[in-house]
């Protein structure tokens, strides 16, 4: 079992389209490192509110992208660390004590969508990726530690 211990600074938050656009305006001078820039994934309307979808990055990384009912977006590793299967995008989203979550569809462990941390097992976490919407298109940071916004 792989355990990802994420530094707090690497955490990415969900970005609403409008705030993402604003963030992009605010920080035009800090582009992502070359070669790991945001990758377009799909149109926003292709994502069902309240569910996730999997995306395949050019380097083979699998990302689970979740769209909530308020149109906030989250991107995490698609790999369920408890089983090794790439299925996190198929989990049920919700919240625990107000923190947005996704439950693994296999053994139902619950993970925070914001920090990636497993709320049922403090030693385990999912990698969190940057995600934004630009011109109606969902884009995901190719590197977990490279923020796009």
């Amino acid at each position: 079992m792989t355990h990802h211990d994420l530094p707090h600074t690497a955490l990415m938050r969900g970005a609403r389209p409008s705030t993402a656009a604003r963030a992009a305006r605010h920080r035009p001078a800090s582009p992502p490192p070359a070669g790991s820039g945001p990758v377009p994934v799909c149109r926003l309307d292709r994502l069902t509110p309240g569910r996730g979808a999997a995306a395949l990055l050019p380097d083979g990384t699998q990302i689970a992208v979740f769209r909530l009912h308020d149109d906030s977006l989250f991107a995490l590793s698609n790999r369920d660390p408890f089983t090794g299967a790439h299925v996190m995008s198929r989990g049920i989203v919700g919240d625990r004590g107000g923190e947005p979550t996704v439950a693994s569809p296999l053994l139902k462990q619950v993970f925070s969508l914001t920090s990636g941390r497993c709320l049922d097992d403090e030693d385990t976490a999912l990698e969190v990726f940057a995600v934004e919407v630009r011109d109606g298109e969902v884009r995901v940071g190719a590197d977990a530690r490279a923020a796009v916004s």
Partner: protein, 827 residues
């Protein structure tokens, strides 16, 4: 195609197991068996039962093996590997593949006089018959050997009425399994039975005089006068044929094989006690059975390998419980000795005293199942109590494993409750109990009650209401969406507990496709993809086969679909066929073929009606009194697609013989001379329960009407994930109350229940057809939203037993020992 010739040398327990396996897996082999003994295979493990009133016939393992040429009393004399022929005294048998299953022979130490009349070994029925004949009218017997076999032989002599003496060369009894203290306690028990025990004693010479025998020993002046002597001091592999034909043998004997039980000649296999698999011989029957299965699989084209053997044993020797499991020795040990009670226990622990490595029990083996299962896990709590009393109390002891997925004991759970865990979610987070298969969650609730915590019936943190209350709210308010329900009656955004529960309520009350609109987001992944998620991220597919009846044409379609999409197929317990390993993007293509052939969704993925099993009933059966197949089909078609708090299973038997096992079902129907009996609330699973009789001897119309009401009343009032068995138990007044409500209509709700079922039957539509007809619903069936045509590259398969499995299946570490045979001991 010319048939393949297979010669098996030896017809013992393992040889026979192999014959059964190979004739079943690959009947194309033309099999010849060359057997030394004049009788077909028998249960050597129970040999001493012959002196306990059991006949030789009862020990027989002979089974009808069509097409197998078993030549009893025709032992193989030589193997000519160049000519690929086995010779016997009367002929030659050519082979393409040869399996050696010659077992072992009793070891007789080189003692002068060991060949005298009255000296025996203890191995075959013939040996025992000779011993019995010799014992007739005599008084005393002596056994050389104080191991498993020796004690068994001593028991046999005692049963023959002989005064018995055991002579053992090692310093204590069962020296291979027990330590000195354990051997001592065992000896004490045996001596209480009047059997003499002399350890650290070796036989040196046997002489005969005046019809009796005298055995001298290596201890000064110690000699025994006796009437018969049995050598039971171990066995040696019978590897002569292999040695003489030039096959490699192990350092301490035995035909050397690889993990596939293949000898140094790839056309020759060895199994059972004669085999030295990767150098190791096994004197137990279970590993031998495992080898038999391995070779049968290989000869059928598979790739099985010997999984290794668990040598744990538990047996009653001379009335004394003896058990040994895992390691017999290790860095640390904790022991318990009560000489007065004759109880000894030793547990071997890791050097940090946190992990149980193994141990032994003498005099009381009650804790054996628990301890054996716990090898490799944490040291059980309350060890001293467990070892001193050895008792499993009426309630569960703290050491009992509650969650076997994560090896969590009751003690762990109670500790968590004492530390403040007040609901199942908290226990899960704290102990991990219930986070695996989930079958212990009901027990966690019980433990919460036992720990003084009042268990809330709230669905989850988002809804203070129980499922039944939410059902009523939805029914009364007419709310049709989750977002409206949670906004008006709950808090937060929902979770994986309340969302599927509400989706099920909406489906029960509203109808419509489960993937319509906002409902799609509520569904568990199984419902979301209308298939069952498996551990590697693929799905399984189960078309409905009502009543288990299927035409050859439809069977062929299933076979073709499985073949074309590379699916693993397995017959389910519910009389249908499960196809595993389907990639998410293949699901619509698979279902297009199935729907075109007339199949419908089997709802194996839903908390819904699964199957209605049936026996063949009056159509074919000589005993059937009712047409169970037709009834099962009618019921399955009536209730297909019905969603509830949990899955629903049913069965119909055509007579009281109950071949369909209807009383293990949520609702079971059994045909009688006068009509039908209806049973409800049965369950298999984690807590089996026989269904209760609700109605007797009713006609079909009454039967169906009552089932309608039973199901609808359950759906309206049960808790989330509460099966009917627990639900019936939870009703105040139980089955009698249920009868008052749904038969006598005490609450006046029957008309509504009837109407609701009528609506369900009318509104039913196949969910998969609904998906195939809707391009928008089809969109979700991709592995990647940005690469719809790319399958998940991490999903890989391998072939085992001729079918596709998730990669890593063959080498997958097993949670426990793989037991392919019975756990009996063999000499």
């Amino acid at each position: 195609m010319s048939s393949k010739r297979l010669v098996v040398v030896g017809d013992g327990m393992v040889g026979r197991r192999f014959l059964e396996a190979i004739t079943e897996r690959d009947p194309s082999w033309q099999v010849t068996v060359l057997a030394e003994e004049p009788r077909p295979a028998y249960d050597r493990v129970r040999l001493s039962a012959l002196f306990d009133g059991v006949s030789a016939e009862e020990l027989s393992l002979a089974t009808d093996l069509p097409g197998v040429d078993v030549r009893l009393g025709e032992p193989a004399t030589a193997v000519d590997r160049a000519a690929r022929t086995v010779r016997t005294a009367t002929g030659a048998h050519p082979y393409d593949k040869l399996v050696l299953a010659t077992g072992s022979s009793a070891f007789v130490p080189p003692v002068e006089g060991a060949d005298l009349d009255g000296v025996f070994v203890y191995r075959t029925i013939d040996d025992l018959e000779a011993i019995k004949a010799r014992a007739e009218g005599r008084a005393a017997g002596l056994v050389v050997g104080g191991g498993l076999l020796g004690l068994e032989a001593a028991n046999a002599l005692r049963l023959l009425g002989l005064r018995t003496q055991i002579v053992e060369f090692a310093p204590w009894l069962m020296a291979r399994q027990l330590d000195e203290a354990g051997g001592g306690v065992l000896a004490q028990h045996i001596e209480r039975l009047g059997i003499g025990v002399a350890c650290s004693t070796g036989a040196t010479r046997i002489t005969a005089a005046e019809g009796r025998l005298r055995m001298e020993t290596d201890r000064d002046g110690l000699a025994y006068d006796t009437d018969l002597i049995v050598f039971a001091a171990g066995v040696r592999p019978r590897d002569r044929l292999a040695r003489e034909s030039g096959l490699d043998v192990g350092e301490r004997g035995g035909v050397l094989t690889d993990a596939a039980c293949r000898t140094s000649d790839p056309d020759v296999y060895a199994i059972g006690e004669v085999a030295a698999v990767e150098g190791a011989c096994y004197g137990l029957v279970a590993p031998g059975y495992a080898m038999a299965e391995v070779v049968a699989d290989r000869l059928a084209g598979g790739r099985a390998t010997f999984p290794g053997a668990d040598l744990s044993t538990k047996l009653k020797l001379l009335g004394v419980d003896v058990a040994q499991f895992g390691a017999a020795d290790g860095p640390l040990a904790t022991t318990y000795l009560d000489p007065a009670a004759g109880v000894y226990a030793k547990l071997v622990l890791s050097d940090d005293a946190r992990t149980l490595l193994g141990g032994m029990l003498v005099g009381n083996a009650e804790p054996y199942p628990l301890l054996r299962a716990g090898v490799g896990g944490p040291v059980p709590a309350g060890l001293a109590d467990l070892l001193s009393t050895g008792e499993v109390e009426a309630g569960l002891p703290d050491t009992a494993q509650v969650c076997s997925c994560n090896a969590v004991t009751k003690g762990d759970v109670m500790g968590a409750i004492r530390e403040g865990c007040a609901d199942v979610g908290a226990i899960k987070a704290c102990t991990r109990a219930g986070t695996g298969c989930g079958s212990c969650v009901p027990m966690l609730k019980q433990l919460l009650t036992e720990g003084g915590v009042e268990v809330s019936t709230s669905v989850c943190e988002h809804f203070a209401q129980s499922r039944a209350e939410l059902f009523d709210i939805v029914k009364v308010t007419g709310i049709t969406t989750f977002s409206e329900l949670i906004a008006r009656h709950g808090t937060g955004a929902g979770c994986d507990l309340c969302k599927p529960a509400v989706a099920s309520i909406l489906a029960s009350l509203g109808g419509g496709h489960i993937l319509d609109g906002e409902q799609a987001a509520l569904q568990d992944t199984n419902d979301h993809f209308l298939a069952n998620l498996q551990r590697n991220g693929t799905y399984s597919v189960v078309p409905r086969i009502p009543g288990g009846e299927i035409t050859p044409e439809k069977l062929i379609v299933i076979g073709e679909v499985a073949r074309d999409f590379g699916l693993y197929t397995k017959i389910t317990g519910g009389q249908r066929i499960d196809m595993f390993g389907a990639r998410v993007e293949d699901l619509p293509k698979i279902w297009r073929r199935l729907v075109d052939a007339g199949f419908e969704s089997g709802h194996a993925y839903g908390k819904s009606l699964r199957t209605v099993k049936s026996c063949v009933g009056t159509d074919w059966c000589r005993y059937g009194v009712q047409d169970s197949v037709k009834m099962a089909i009618d019921l399955e078609l009536r209730y297909r697609g019905l969603r509830g708090p949990h899955k629903l299973k049913s069965a119909v038997s055509g007579c009281a013989r109950e071949c369909a096992e209807a009383r293990g079902k949520d609702f079971g129907v059994i045909g009688t001379e006068n009509g039908w009996n209806l049973y409800v609330g049965g369950n298999g699973g984690f807590t089996p329960r026989h269904a209760d009789l609700l109605l007797a001897d009713v006609d079909a119309e009454t039967l169906v009407r009552t089932i309608d009401r039973f199901l609808m009343f359950y759906i309206a009032t049960a808790d989330r994930l509460q099966r009917t068995s627990k639900w019936v138990e939870s009703l105040d007044g139980g089955i009698d109350y249920l009868r008052e409500v749904i038969v006598e209509d005490r609450l006046g709700v029957c008309a509504e229940l009837d109407a609701r079922m009528a609506a369900h039957v009318e509104q039913y539509a196949d969910e998969w057809k609904g998906v195939l007809d809707d391009p928008e619903k089809l969109q979700r069936f991709v592995s990647f939203v940005n690469a719809p045509d790319t399958p998940d590259p991490t999903i890989e398969f391998e072939t085992v037993r001729g079918q596709r499995f998730p990669a890593g299946t063959a080498g997958r570490p097993q949670a426990g020992p793989v037991l392919l045979g019975t756990p009996e001991r063999k000499r």
